[in-house]
Subunit: 264 residues, 4 copies
């Protein structure tokens, strides 16, 4: 399946403001970026680097006045992401080194507080994929998905208290539950085809069997139409934009995902 | 100054248990490890790796029964760690890339919640080193240091509510306050000569001017006798030991730091 | 200046053949990639990764039959790359760690064999930038530039014997001479506006003062119109394509670089 | 088996000279460093870092006059390194990313020049481990091992012309032959118990099956008593000491390896 994603952010900037942006998808085994645009108006000097999670990020100083960023990408994604019920739990001693940090608690995923709850939710499930699938199902049934109502992130403990949240919040709770069972889990930020209402999306991946698998408490069981832009331990690591100094919110934020014919 | 540090941990292990240990100090500009021992009884297969913060860590599976780890090191440390009152705040756009992640909130340092408080504490101070020094002083005066009373970490928000904590807790609050002012800050775990009561210690570093500086809310202004073992965003990243499965606590934990003559 | 670069490679593949490609330019302080296309026909599964030099590379298996790759990019480049005559030599002990490996000899740059020659060429020049500039000038005068006559790389020693070579060969000799003076130097592969005959290009960078500077023995003193695609110790690290198994050469290789109006 | 290794280097330094040393063994699955000493006389400021191959290296400036380095380590090594005749060749597309760079030619291993020769040597052998074993055997029979006769490295092409060399030279030729068959190979520098005459040693590893295996043209088939200190593409990457400025050679170089009782 070929998708065209686009994201437009417009700001009004009062004082020159440093930004760190994460808006450039990378090609990997699940997605191939065949075409891409990244426009900054007015154009300023940008530095691009790779962070510890292999995300590309852009650093710039937004000048005073109207400032906008428009990105788009034509991406071939796999028609159906893999699901492997029964994929086994990997004992900690057998996890690859680069996966270990995804076992640790993080800002929005206080996994050290969820062990009992996770055991209860996954009761009777085979360790590994099936546990994560039961967590995803539980989130879907028990935590109310309230899109579009959040300006800043809350942590898994808070999500669990409120019993509701945006996609990112549900993902954080899912991650905290997985890690509390010693299953590595990470946040993914990106696009989802046919998401309603359309917006940037967040979901999570868990490491079972011998690889990462995609889970999404908002679209339980659906496994198609995802374009990943960033990976990290939680939303603290994967912000589409991080801005420093006086708070600035986009005056316009437009996100689109369309199917396109095979890229010619 | 030459120091001999030692740490002995003894456990009784009920079922084979994976551990990740961080007990091997590394040489750097502040310290030179001239001699080192690391004994594991009974000896088991150990894998050693370097994490994303350049810490060496050891992975092993502790077998059933008595299990102990004894480490010691002869280390030359600088006589006096640098202090540079007046060292300026570095604007975000000028920070080196590898320092950026220390601006983000983390599990035990919810820096996104402390901006107002940090502004108040540092009121009237020049941006940079002097702000951090005033945070260190504030912690020292306002947060009661209660050594030895903690089995698991609490976060900066909780430390601030309780108004007391162990060295690690004070450091976490210091880090959260620094980051809320866009000053990169990180946790350091290691040894401190003449600490009373003697134990493993934790303190923090802040990036101002063009480098990291040491701060310690427990020993405000003191800048000598530190041996660092691990660095990270907070205690989630730098645990002396992380153990998976049923909880295990050391039956014995002995820490010593002595002055020695120049290493012969 | 805005440039549109494009490169098309067509192959006829006899047996399925693994390729490693390096054809995706990255944004950095000298260039901003505002638009990019990367088409593979027929489309096959591609993995993209970052190597130890921060280059993006693509791994794929080319299927039997006609196989082609077409890339293009719209890139804003600085109007004039910096030149800083007089920028000083950096003593080895003061070089940043990540620069040290560019002091070592490598496959095509046997810097351990060029010390006397380098001293002679740079005689009377101030250590640092001026030495490198005199090496660039010497290469330009003494080594005949023979574009398009090379199918595989030769080393600096061989280039020096032949007294002629393609752009990559001249760059290799320049790098070997710099390193023999303890000046870190690296190869850059990419595009150059107005290169005649148009082709992919290679040049070199040297680390003096406190940063990398661009040098090009083919276009001595010219410092405009460069788009970098890959960096490495020499051509062994930065091949536009590396192919394994029976040798395959492109049946068509088309390279274009045009000026475009500011990207809209 | 427990081994105590030691290496002493003494220099007479005429002008302050920057050194990069690689003398600190690291623990890994094959070896556990239980005790270690690293003495520098006179003691100077040392920086320690990790290079791109995970080696620890030390940077310092040797002062004028007598300068010495004494290191020793008590290391538990596996009794017998694994040998797996029949372990299969890994097709390039299936190699892990971090292994790819060991396929490329390097300063002392011009693997691009050895394909025909490698095919001839390994004629009739199953692709993979058995090919490498036949290369090791060929080296042992055909290239005369002449310990202690080399002050600076020669490349695989030169070793093949001379038909003789030190351990490092034989390893370089082995590596070049492996890579020319698309088998990743790397140099290891360290200690070997019972080596005669005793000295620092160099051997090589090849990646077949799903891991690195040890080969040694000097001690064909022997697989015990190895302590690794550094890994790299070839001797350019793994020098026990690299010194810059006017050449300096050790006035004394003493290497010892003894068996010890289990470390208490």
């Amino acid at each position: 399946m070929w998708l065209r994603t686009s994201c437009e952010l417009s700001f009004y900037i009062a004082v020159p403001t440093p930004f760190i942006l994460m808006l450039r998808p990378r090609s990997n085994a699940q997605q191939w970026v065949a075409k891409e645009e990244y426009k900054i108006s007015p154009h300023v000097l940008v530095y691009e680097h790779t962070d510890g999670y292999s995300n590309l990020y852009q650093r710039l100083i937004a000048p005073e006045g109207a400032f906008s960023i428009r990105t788009s990408a034509d991406v071939k994604v796999v028609d159906q992401l893999d699901q492997t019920p029964g994929a086994p739990f990997v004992e900690v001693q057998n996890l690859p080194d680069q996966v270990l940090s995804y076992l640790l608690p993080s800002r929005y995923c206080e996994s050290d507080r969820f062990n009992e709850m996770a055991i209860e939710i996954t009761n009777g499930k085979a360790p590994g994929y099936d546990q994560v699938a039961s967590i995803e199902k539980w989130l879907c049934k028990r935590i109310l998905y309230t899109p579009g109502e959040s300006n800043f992130a809350i942590s898994a403990v808070e999500v669990n208290q409120r019993q509701s949240g945006v996609c990112r919040d549900l993902a954080h709770l899912g991650i905290a539950l997985c890690r509390s069972l010693s299953i590595p889990a990470r946040l993914v930020v990106g696009y989802l085809y046919d998401l309603k209402p359309m917006d940037l999306h967040a979901w999570f991946e868990a490491y079972v069997g011998d690889r990462w698998y995609t889970f999404d408490a908002v679209h339980q069981g659906a496994r198609a139409g995802y374009v990943a832009v960033g990976y990290g331990r939680d939303a603290a690591d994967v912000a589409v934009f991080n801005q420093f100094g006086p708070s600035v919110f986009p005056t316009v934020q437009t996100v689109r995902v369309e199917k396109i014919d095979e890229f010619i």
